[in-house]
């Protein structure tokens, strides 16, 4: 795994790096996507 400080919580240590471009293309610009509630990305879900 990538190096993230051992002082950060497990969720942050395991979090995936996503670029703003990936997030945009992730949804084709539509917030109906499964990821619909994330910020900026504008859109990712649960």
């Amino acid at each position: 795994m990538k190096k993230v400080d051992k002082k950060r919580i497990l969720g942050r240590r395991l979090a995936a790096d996503i670029t703003a471009e990936q997030l945009k293309s992730a949804t084709g610009g539509s917030p109906s996507n499964c990821m619909g509630d994330y910020d900026d990305v504008d859109y990712i879900s649960y």
Partner: protein, 370 residues
């Protein structure tokens, strides 16, 4: 004509499109933009003048009171935590925020108790508790992965040793750390001892640890009352999405699916046990064909399935359930069905050109500084 109240926020395309669909079907849909309270919306509850509590809420494009008649409440995305002005005194802000939240929770307890609720207010909190879901799924006859939820470093290490090389971690709630460029997002991840932070940090945040389940494919089962819309997610075709299909983004192939009758019956038992009439269930189908329950999304996103595969129908049956105000609604597939593709652009334009100007945007629940 059915009158439907939809709790939402301005960027919620599901609410906007369903409201448009309902209007097209001759119903009346009212969007309750929760982030407007308290800066652009006022609400009052009066008690003690004889009779039942009287309440009223008004603001941009909204006026309703306890004597308003709504047949259906779609408890889609209520905004409970308020958006307060930046210039507020920092101490006052904390107090005002707490008071607003408590007021909101009180108000929701009082409104339209006789309406058809999707989902019933009292069931929402319990249904969203992932550990309750797993317990109830087992009781309903579903298979669940061996699971540990803990902040105890010794127990976590013992679990990771037991499932060495085949353990996963996921949080209770999504998180997004804003970086200088892009974001770090929590998804389901593999985890081993070496990934763990120092014990004094590990114990600060409980997490969900599970045995990794081998996948042939995954299922997204959307229950709308008695209707099941089953979709097969071909997540294993995309290497980065094998652990968490959300990482496939729009590359994910989605197909209509068949679900074994006994699995469907168990899922329906689960929803009854949770007291909900709508849910999106995530499930793994193993290479051997076994079905393993992952989680219930009590108010999950569903239109993306129709967006990725136009053969699936989600928008039309959902509008029918609301319009008929009953879980055992009737619906049939036909060329006249409302379609995601037909309503999408107009709904986006409405959000961009009207809602963004008139209403307060939803506060971010996930995004935090890195």
């Amino acid at each position: 004509m059915t009158r439907i109240l939809i709790a939402t926020y301005p960027e919620d395309i599901h609410a906007t499109m369903v409201a448009a669909g309902l209007e097209a079907r001759g119903h009346q849909a009212v969007l309750w933009q929760g982030a407007d309270f308290p800066t652009r919306q006022q609400a009052s509850i009066s008690i003690g003048d004889g009779g039942e509590a009287a309440w009223e809420v008004s603001g941009p494009r909204l006026r309703m009171a306890s004597n308003s008649a709504f047949d259906v409440i779609w408890h889609r995305r209520p905004v409970i935590e308020p958006v307060l002005p930046d210039e507020m005194h920092p101490g006052d802000r904390i107090v005002a925020s707490r008071e607003c939240s408590i007021f909101n929770r009180n108000l929701w307890q009082l409104i339209f108790p006789g309406a058809f609720w999707i989902n019933p207010l009292g069931s929402r909190q319990r249904s969203n508790a992932k550990l309750v879901q797993l317990q109830e799924a087992l009781a309903a006859g579903l298979t669940v992965p061996p699971t540990l939820c803990s902040n105890d470093p010794a127990r976590i290490r013992a679990f990771l040793d037991r499932y060495a090389g085949r353990a996963i971690y996921k949080p209770f709630y999504p998180a997004q750390w804003r970086k200088q460029e892009g974001s770090a997002l929590t998804f389901t991840s593999t985890v081993c001892r070496n990934d763990l932070p120092d014990d004094e940090v590990l114990r600060l945040t409980p997490g969900i640890f599970q045995q990794r389940i081998a996948k042939r494919h995954e299922l997204r089962l959307t229950y709308m009352g008695d209707l099941l819309v089953a979709a097969k997610l071909l997540s294993q075709e995309i290497p980065k999405a094998r652990l968490d299909w959300k990482l496939a983004f729009t590359d994910l192939r989605v197909l209509p699916a068949e679900v074994p009758a006994e699995v469907d019956r168990a899922c329906r038992r689960l929803l009854r046990r949770l007291g909900i009439v709508f849910a999106c269930l995530d499930m793994i189908v193993t290479p051997e064909g076994d079905h393993v329950f992952v989680e219930v999304n009590e108010m999950g996103q569903f239109l993306w399935l129709e967006e990725l595969n136009a053969d699936l129908r989600l928008l039309d049956p959902f509008c029918e359930m609301l319009g008929q105000a009953r879980r055992d609604f009737t619906w049939r597939r036909s060329p006249d069905n409302l379609r995601f593709a037909d309503l999408h652009d107009a709904a986006m334009a409405q959000q961009r050109e009207v809602f963004a100007r008139v209403h307060v945007a939803k506060p971010s629940y996930f995004s935090v500084p890195d």
